[in-house]
């Protein structure tokens, strides 16, 4: 276990609960275990409680990784292909890379 979903805090109430949102889903969760969380934070929620604030570290790592694999993929393609059209995109670099965010990293993993 355990199932936990990253959601963004859109409101914090006086009673220690927060409103969380993700793709049109709105849920209330308790901040009893994460009292310092604030509006705008992207948090992991499990069984109705926020457990952790997610950071952007992963997005940066993913970008580095994507850049690295773009190089290795390019090398592979160069070996394997003969007379293949280059195309407008560099092989292996997805157009979404510059926009990669924590959400994308999570979403990609859930795919």
């Amino acid at each position: 276990m355990c199932l936990a979903l990253p959601m963004r805090i859109t409101a914090v109430a006086d009673d220690g609960t927060a409103t969380l949102a993700l793709e049109g889903l709105e849920q209330r969760a308790s901040l009893a275990l994460l009292p310092d969380a604030v509006i705008g934070d992207y948090v992991l929620v499990h069984a109705g409680y926020a457990l952790s604030v997610l950071t952007e570290d992963e997005a940066e790592e993913t970008l580095t990784l994507l850049a690295a694999l773009a190089e290795s993929a390019a090398a592979e393609d160069a070996e394997a292909a003969s007379g293949r059209a280059a195309g407008s995109e560099a092989p292996g670099r997805p157009a979404a890379a510059p926009e990669a965010s924590v959400k994308d990293a999570e979403a990609g993993g859930r795919a």
Partner: protein, 382 residues
């Protein structure tokens, strides 16, 4: 007695006089219903019953056949006839995107559509809980009428029973539909061939998620609405695109309509159940590309929160088609041209490998098996 096809809304008008003792009761009595709740007496078959039928059901569903108030309606069909029935016990009765009324009509129209049958007539039987609000009943009948009009089908006969408070959940509706099959060849799993394409008319899971949120068992709000809709027009568009005649004539059945092998609407049990039935029935394998199956982000979010699989969730406005590969582009275009098929996609293909089993190809190129969902849908925390 004159026969009626019972399927031309244009013929609506004053009821034709008919021989028989019930002629006098054919015109709906104005304003005889008293009070705002359904009483046990309304189900007893006497005067109260006649008032309920006249002022609620006939008033809402009005058409020449129904207004005769015969116990049976006579229909004429030039070709093969399909018949289907469905009971509807949804809670809550009203939810974002629909209500039990819309569901009861669309569900039966869609079952007929899976047989490539144009709906000719519907029958509707009601079991109503004593104390049910008449206004709510009228509203349900209104949406039934609207949905039936959308599908071009009249509600020609029905039945009403009233049970003691607590003996049913508000109202149960059973609809039976009769339709005319507009293709000549046999549809079904036996018609499916290796290499056929699997086409889905749109995103899955919306109905189940909308119901879940509306039931309020989990403290969540979502903007997902039920996809509940009658799909005959959309299916007819697909058949027409394959050169088929949907005008009611027996027709030569142009060879390309045989490109249509199998249709099923993924209701309870979801897409997974329909695919499993397809594979088992055809004795062939089915491979689905996971990323090709449309799932709305709002549905995905609720599923991720509760640990549900969108493939196992009920839909009430979706149709799955298995078609010959050379026809799938045309079928896709026909679906996407219709409001209920905008997000249609080819989601997979029939294969000789792993006969009887369904495989899902993940975005990573690996495969996993899709089995029928085991039982009731339960949220997980683990």
């Amino acid at each position: 007695m004159t026969d009626a096809t019972g399927r031309q809304p244009a013929e609506r008008g004053p009821a034709k006089p008919a021989a028989g003792p019930d002629a006098a009761a054919a015109k709906p009595a104005a304003g005889r219903l008293r009070g705002d709740r359904v009483l046990l007496g309304h189900g007893s078959g006497g005067r109260l019953y006649r008032d309920l039928v006249a002022e609620v059901f006939v008033a809402a569903f009005s058409n020449p056949v129904l207004e005769r108030l015969d116990d049976a309606a006579i229909l004429v069909s030039p070709g093969r006839v399909a018949v289907t029935t469905d009971s509807h016990v949804v809670q809550p009765l009203r939810y974002p995107g629909g209500d039990i009324g819309r569901l009861s009509v669309a569900g039966t129209v869609n079952d007929l559509a899976t047989a490539a049958a144009r709906p000719l007539a519907l029958a509707a039987a009601f079991i109503i809980e004593e104390g049910f609000a008449l206004d709510e009943l009228r509203a349900i009948c209104r949406t039934m009428r609207e949905t039936a009009d959308e599908a071009g089908v009249p509600i020609v006969t029905g039945d009403t029973k009233v049970v003691e408070r607590g003996a049913c959940d508000g109202v149960f509706i059973t609809t039976t539909g009769v339709g005319e099959v507009v293709v000549d060849h046999e549809l079904g799993a036996a018609a499916v061939r290796e290499g056929d394409h699997v086409v889905l008319s749109g995103g899955i899971g919306n109905h189940a998620v909308a119901i879940l949120a509306a039931r309020g068992e989990f403290d969540l709000k979502t903007d997902v609405v039920s996809d509940c809709a009658p799909l005959w027009e959309m299916v007819e568009g697909v058949i027409t695109s394959l050169g088929g005649g949907a005008t009611g004539s027996a027709g030569a059945g142009s060879p390309s309509t045989t490109a249509l092998r199998f249709l099923r609407d993924p209701t309870r049990g979801g897409l997974t159940t329909v695919l499993a039935e397809l594979a088992e029935g055809a004795g062939l394998g089915v491979e689905i590309v996971e990323d090709a199956v449309p799932v709305a982000p709002g549905v995905r979010a609720v599923c991720d929160l509760l640990g549900y699989d969108p493939f196992a969730l009920a839909n009430e406005g979706k149709m799955l088609f298995v078609v010959a590969p050379e026809a799938s582009e045309r079928v896709l275009a026909a679906l996407r041209a219709h409001p209920y098929g905008r997000d249609a996609a080819v989601i997979g293909a029939v294969t000789a490998a792993h006969p009887g089993r369904v495989a899902l190809r993940t975005p990573f190129g690996t495969r996993r098996v899709l089995d029928m969902p085991a039982g009731e849908l339960l949220p997980r925390i683990c």
